[in-house]
Symmetry: D2
Subunit: 359 residues, 4 copies
C-alpha cells in the first residue's frame, strides 16, 4: 500500500533549525513541505528571507516560495505543523494552531513540561503520545501539541533508556561540551569562543535534568486521563559551550543498584531498538546508538553524521568502569540540529501518522 | 637580610615548558637561570635552538646562551636543577643529577609515584618534602628528586584541599576540557581540533586520580623512614582536549559525609592560604584560589592570567548544590603551563630554599 | 614643567572600542577619563552596563561610575571628548558636541571624508590638524571634530608613508585578513567563522582606498581656507575576515617609478619616526614600524602587542622583491583596536594638546 | 561499449592525500584500487596502518587490505600507479615505476618542472600529455611520469586559463589563505594556528608562479621532441595559512592589455569547459568554474564541495573592476585535496585512458 502524502507547514522557517527541516525534507518519501511561515520576513521569497547556513544549496523550489505569516490560515490544507519557533513566540502561537485543528510537533521549550503534553523521542517513549486524547479533551482542541526535547537531553535520554531499563539507575552526573549551532543564529559571538570555553548556558542544566526525567517516566492512569510519572533520578549537570559547529559531546557518569559490567552496557546500547526501527520509518536510523571501541571516539567532526540516516544515531565511546563495579563512565555525541531538533520532530510526525494520531 | 642568589640549570630548555621557565625567571628576585640544557640542540645558541612560542621576546641574554648537553658537568656550580624533560628521558637523566648532588625539581611524570619521592604543590602539601631525608639515605644520593604534579591535577588538588580538610570528601567526579599547550610542541595537529573535541588523553585520567590521592595524602612514619598514606577517595575522571591555547577547565562534582552549603564551600576556597603565602615567597599568589560569582566564569581566555602572580591562582566559579545537600558542583580553571608546570616548580624551589632543603 | 591634566569624556563607552579606552587610559600620566556616556545604558553603573571583554579587570573606579546620557551637558568641565560611537549615531551627536565647544576626537567614519575635517595619524599627517581653524570658522563652532582612520587603513597608511615619501608610489594592491574584534561586539557570529573565511566586509574596501589617499595627501591653501589634496594613487583592495581575535594582517604589493631595493625599503620603514616620537608623547611607540626578518612573521598572536607601547607599533615582515625591481611585496600587521582605534585617538589628543589645539 | 576496468596501485596510501583517493575511488565506475603501498607500515592491514581522517568510514574492503612495500613488484598487474608520496621519496621511487613500465600519475613536486614531464590539469592543458612520447624515448622508459600541480596553483590556473585565452594577461598579483589539510598530517601544530595566521609557506610562492606559467604554456616542437614554452607572465604571490580545514581561498588582481568588463570575465569563467567535460569523464564536474554573485562568497565551508562532482569545481566570487578598466579583482576557492590533489590525478588518469596513453 502506498504511503499517503503528508502536507506540512513550518513555523520559524527562516531560522537555523527551520533551515535544517528544509534540508532534511528535500527528498522525503511522503512528507511535503508546503508552507513556510516566518515573522518579520512574511511576504518575502524564502530565498531572500533566510540567511542560508548550509553548504547544500537551498534549492530553487524553496527559494521561490513566499514566506507566509505565522497564522493558522497560512497552513490551510496542511496535515501537520512543525514548529521551530523561539520559546517566547511558541507560547502563544502553537496553541492557536492546535485549537484550529492542527497537530503541532514543536521543538520549542514552551510547552514541554505541561502535564498533558507529550515530550517524545520516538525510540524512547512513543507511548507518551497516548496523552493526546486527554489533551484534546481537557483543552477542547481539535488539534494537539507534541513536543520534542532540548537538543542536549536528546542523545543523553536515548543512551540512558536501555541502561535504566536493564540495570536501573541511581544517579547520573553529566558534563556537556555543546556546539555553537545549539544557540541558533546569530547565536554566540565569535569573540567569545575563539581560544575559549563558555562554562554556562542559560537554563540548560535545569532543562536537561527535568526533561530527562519526564522522557524516561511512565504513563499512569489518573482517573479518566493519563499522566506521566517522572523517573526518580538524582542528576547533576554542567553545560559548556565549545568551538564546534555541530554535535553535542557529553560525559556521563552513572551509578547502578548492582554491579554492571561495561561489556554488558555496551551490548545493551548496541542492541537498543525502538518502535521507529520496528516500523522502518524513513527517518529512523537502523541503529539508534552506535558504540565505538577506539579510545578517542566519539569526535564531533568525525561522528556527528554517523549512521544509516546521517545525524540520527547517537555515538557512544569510552564505555568503562566508574569508581567501582556499580558505576560506569562513557562519552556520547549527538547531532544537535538533526537528532537534537529537526530529525526527531520529523521522526515523530512519521510515527504519529503510522499510529493514527494524524489525519 | 638579603636573599642569597640561587643559580639554576634547566633540563629540557628548548621545549614549550622550558620556554615558560625562561619567561617566568626573567625578572625573578633571586633565582638566576645560568645553564640551559637540551638534547639534539646542544652546542647551538638558544636563540637558534628554540622555536620560541611566546609574544614576549626571548631576550638577548638567553638568545646568546649556548645550549649545553644534558650532563651533570653542564650544571657545575648550580644550586638546583629544574627538569622539563619528557618522561622517558627524565627516567634516566634525573637520577644521574640527584646522584651527582643536585636537588632536582621535576615536572616529568617519571618518578612522581615512587614511594620516597615527594609530589608537591607548595600550598597543599609542603610537609611531603620531609620524605627527602629518607630518599637520600636509602638511595645513597647527595642530591634529591622532588616532583610536581601533572598539569590537570594541579588546579584540582588545590581546590580539593580546603574542601577535604573542612568537610571530608566521599567521591569526586571530574570532566576536563584541556588546553592545547598541555600536549607540548608540536603537540596536537591542528587538523584534529578545528571544529572538534578529542575525548581522550593518553594515561591522563589514571594520573589525575592517582596523583590527587598522593598529594592529598598524609605523611606517616614507617620505622625510620617516612611514607605517604594516600587519601582514600573514589574518583571518576574524563579528560578531553579542546581548542584553547592555555588553561585547563574542569567540572567537579563532589560528595561529602554531611551537608555542605555552597556558601560555606566558597568561603573555604577563598580563605585558603598555604605556607608560600605565609612566607611571602615571590611566586606565591596572594590568593591561591579566586572565586568568581558571575554565572559564566571562569573562562580560559579571560581568567587564566588572574591573580597577583599571573597564572598562579586557580579560578573557581559556578559553585552550587549538586544532587542534594551533601554534594556540590563547581567549575575550575588553572593555567596549565604556569600553575600547572613551571610556576609550581619555581615556587617549590623557593620553598625548598626557605625550608633549608637547598644549599 | 608639569603637564596639565586633561579631563576626558567618552562617547560610546560600553562598546568594544569604548572598553579599550578604559584599558589604555587607566594609567595615563595626564589624561583623566571623567565621564562615560552610553545610549540605552545611561543611568546604570558602568560595571553593570558594559559586557567587559578583557582579561584585565575593569577596575572598581570605573565599575562604580554612572553611565551618563550622550548629551553635551554630561561632558561639562571636560577638555576633550573621545567618540567611539557607531557611525550612524556619530553623524548627529558629534557635531552637537563640537558646536557646544568641545574638541571631539572621533573614530567613527561619519565625518572622515568631509573637506574640512582632518583624518589624522599623528605620525603620518599631523599637519592636517591645521584644517581646524577653517572648520571652526566656516561652521561657526567653538569646538571641532578631528577623526582617526578606519582600523584597516591605519597600519597600511603608516607603512606607505615612508615608502611614498622616499620612493614615490605608482600602485598598491592590498589583501587583508582582519580580526574579529574589528566588527565590534557582538559582531561576527561564531557559526560564520569556524572552519571558514568571510571574503567580504561591507564598505571596507572603498574606505581603505579613500582614506589612505586623504591621509597621505597634502595640505593646500585654497583662498583663505585650507584643503587636503589627496594622493593620486591607484589602489586595489580585497578585505577578508578570519578567525583571529585582534590584529589585522595585510599583504601589500606596490609599484614604484624607479627601482627600489628591498633593503632600502626596510631601512626606510625602520627609520621612520613622526612628530609624536620627537615630542615623546606618552602613547607614542619609540619605533612606529618594526621590521621582522624571520620568514614567518608577522603573526597576529605573537606580534600584535609588539613595541614600547604595546599594540601601537606596526609590524612588517617578508619585505621582498615583487614582479621586478620596481615593485615590492610585504606583509604588515597592526593591532586593530589599539593602533587601529583607541590608541591613535589618544595619541591624537596628546598631540593636539601639545600643539595648542586644546584648551 | 563498456568501459574497460583500470587497475590501480597507490603509493603513499596511508597519508592524508592517500586517504582522499580511497574516498574518491570507492564508487568509481571503472577504476579499481587494487594495491595500497606504504613506507614503514608495509605488512600491516590498512585499517591499522592509516590514521583515518574522514567522517566517511574507511570501508571494510580497504581496512582489510595489506599495505605493500613501495616496490614495483607490489604493483604487478596494475594499469596505472598513483603517487601521493612526499617529494623527497617521489624523486627516487617514481622513476623506478616508470622504468618498470607503469604510467605514473604523481602529485609530488619532485618531477613537475622537468622539461619532458607534463604538468597537467585536464581542463586546462590536456595537450601537454603529448610530451610523453619524447619522455619515454629519451629516458628509455616503457612507462611514464605525468604530474599534477601544487594544490594552490590548481584553482588559480583554472581561473586564469579562460582569462588569458580571451583577454591576454599582463600581470597577476595573488594572496592566498590556505587550508590546514594542505600541509598534510600531522602538518601544522594547533598551537600555531589558534587565534593566528601563518604568513609564510615554505617554497609555496615560487611553486605557484613557476607552475602556473608552465601549465598555461604552449607545446612547441623542438627538433624531434616537444617542449613547453611557458607563459610569460609577471606574478607576485603571497601565501598564508589560516584556520580552515579544507579549501584554499585566493584573491587575484590581474591586468590586461585592453579594457575587460567584469561581466565579460564572468561569462568567460562560467562558460569555460575543457576536454574532460566534452568527453564526459566521470570525475569531470559539469561546470569547472562556478561564479557566485553574492557579495560574501566564496566561503570555504560553504563552497568547497560545490558542483556536480563535489570538490572538483572552482568557485569564484567578487569579480569586479581593479584599479582601472584594464584590471580585475576576484576571489577564488578550490578544494585543496580534491581538485587540488586526488581528484585531478584521477581525472588525469581518466583522460589518459581515453586518449590512449594507458594500456
Amino acid at each position: 500500500m502506498k504511503q499517503k502524502e503528508l502536507k506540512v507547514a513550518l513555523l520559524g522557517a527562516t531560522g537555523a533549525v527551520g533551515q535544517r527541516y528544509i534540508n532534511m525534507l528535500r527528498d522525503h518519501p511522503f512528507i511535503r513541505l508546503e508552507v513556510l511561515m516566518g515573522g518579520e520576513s512574511a511576504g518575502k521569497k524564502y530565498g531572500e528571507a533566510a540567511r542560508w547556513l548550509f553548504p547544500e544549496p537551498m534549492g530553487d523550489e524553496y527559494a521561490q516560495m513566499e514566506v507566509k505569516k505565522s497564522r493558522t490560515e497560512s497552513a490551510a490544507g496542511c496535515d501537520i505543523v512543525f514548529s521551530a519557533l523561539p520559546s517566547e513566540v511558541a507560547k502563544e502561537v502553537e496553541p492557536a494552531f492546535a485549537r484550529a485543528g492542527f497537530p503541532v510537533v514543536s521543538e520549542a521549550s514552551a510547552h514541554r513540561m505541561e502535564d498533558d503534553v507529550p515530550l517524545v523521542i520516538p525510540e524512547v517513549n512513543p507511548d507518551h503520545l497516548s496523552l493526546l486524547e486527554g489533551q484534546r479533551a481537557s483543552r477542547g482542541w481539535k488539534g494537539s501539541i507534541v513536543t520534542t526535547p532540548n537538543c542536549t537531553v536528546m542523545g543523553l535520554a536515548m543512551v540512558m533508556k536501555p541502561l535504566v531499563e536493564l540495570f536501573g539507575m541511581d544517579k547520573a552526573i553529566v558534563t556537556t561540551m555543546q556546539a555553537l549551532s545549539g544557540a541558533g543564529f546569530p547565536g554566540v559571538p565569535s569573540l567569545l569562543v575563539v581560544d575559549n570555553i563558555l562554562p554556562y548556558i542559560k537554563n540548560e542544566e535545569e532543562k536537561v535534568a527535568r526533561e530527562a526525567r519526564k522522557i524516561l517516566g511512565t504513563v499512569r492512569k489518573e482517573g479518566r486521563s493519563k499522566v506521566i510519572e517522572p523517573l526518580e533520578l538524582p542528576m547533576g549537570v554542567s553545560c559548556n559551550r565549545v568551538q564546534v559547529i555541530d554535535g553535542h559531546t557529553e560525559t556521563l557518569y552513572s551509578e547502578f543498584p548492582r554491579a554492571v559490567e561495561p561489556g554488558a552496557a555496551v551490548r545493551a546500547l548496541e542492541r537498543f531498538r525502538g518502535l521507529p526501527q520496528k516500523l522502518k520509518l524513513p527517518t529512523a536510523p537502523s541503529q539508534p546508538i552506535i558504540v565505538r571501541t577506539e579510545h578517542d571516539r566519539p569526535q564531533p567532526r568525525l561522528d556527528r553524521m554517523a549512521g544509516s540516516v546521517p545525524g540520527m544515531s547517537v555515538v557512544v565511546g569510552r564505555v568503562r568502569r566508574g569508581i567501582d563495579d556499580r558505576s560506569l563512565m562513557l562519552t556520547l555525541l549527538s547531532h544537535n540540529t538533526i537528532r537534537g531538533a529537526a530529525g526527531t520532530a520529523i521522526l515523530t510526525a512519521e510515527l504519529m501518522q503510522r499510529e493514527g494520531y494524524i489525519g
